[in-house]
Symmetry: C2
């Protein structure tokens, strides 16, 4: 089905053009006209792939999620010491490089944009919380987790910590850099795990 | 100077009308026209108090910060056991009631709106980080903080935790309610403090 594949490929190119426009000009600048120009398409051609601006934005956001999920799945399959694996996974969510920072910016702009259009866009945030529960379970299975911890509360705490760090790295990059993020995350992992602290 | 006082009072009324419009319709709905209508003013009268939309938005955001700061200062002056005082202060930042939830919504919408207009609006986020450093110092002065903690990292972690919880309470209220927030915060305070855990 070469035609269907081309169609999907073109939709991805348009989504990537959308991210670039949002990164440069914010959501207010992300008009269909500017996105078409950035993608090198006519307005009519773009409308062939996405009939409304919201349809395009929802697709572009979906693609951000898929990319992050793919990176995390790849790390999850690697043969790494458990704590190192968990740290690497967390660094796919906190924006420590240009790619993840762009994703964070796009996520923030999208969330603000769709906040008052709940019927258009279901944020499905709970999927990330479920991921945090899995991380805590994973540490527990390897007998790395301290005894007597409330796993539900630890998952909620880890989730808040990661999203808080992500937000601050985006908004306060002068203070919150990658080194600092890694120090906080390693410190947190050590504080809930048994055994010798990793540095 | 009654005239000056009236002027400031009217500006506050307009700011409050702005919050209501943002809460209901999001930042996209916060046009000068709608805000004037919500405030019961003509467009010309509103322009007498704020000559541009951005000037009004910056003022309205400033007022959110002042209100939160006033509440925190009031608690700081109260005669309370140190850990209880700190918990109460943190609950002024995490949106656990209608007033703080409205502030959080407004903060989120403003931040997204001004993200790509840095010259118009200096977010001054670092002030909150400085507050977190003060909280950690305060616990230390009362000999409540565990020894050998890295106070800078603890302040960064506390800040991330609080803003992450605030974000999740706003975006995922089905799971993240006030009870859960208090449990996570008490758990965190106990994990960095010496002595018997409070429940």
């Amino acid at each position: 089905m070469p035609k269907l594949i081309d169609h999907e490929k073109r939709r991805k190119q348009i989504a990537e053009a959308t991210w670039r426009v949002i990164l440069e000009q914010g959501m207010e600048g992300a008009t269909v006209r500017k996105i078409a120009k950035e993608a090198g398409l006519s307005l009519g051609a773009l409308r062939h792939y996405f009939s409304t601006q919201d349809e395009l934005l929802v697709y572009a956001m979906q693609l951000v999620k898929e990319k992050a999920t793919a990176r995390i799945t790849e790390i999850a399959m690697q043969d790494l010491p458990p704590k190192e694996k968990i740290l690497n996974i967390m660094l796919q969510i906190v924006p420590v490089n240009d790619e993840t920072m762009a994703e964070m910016e796009v996520w923030f702009a999208f969330t603000a944009h769709f906040r008052h259009k709940q019927d258009t866009f279901d944020a499905q945030h709970d999927r990330i919380f479920v991921g945090m529960q899995k991380i805590i379970d994973y540490l527990d299975q390897f007998n790395l987790l301290q005894k007597n911890l409330d796993k539900e509360i630890e998952a909620e705490k880890l989730y808040a910590l990661i999203d808080g760090l992500a937000l601050h790295m985006m908004l306060e990059p002068q203070r919150v850099n990658k080194d600092r993020i890694v120090r906080v995350l390693v410190h947190h992992l050590n504080s809930i795990c048994v055994g010798e602290p990793d540095e």
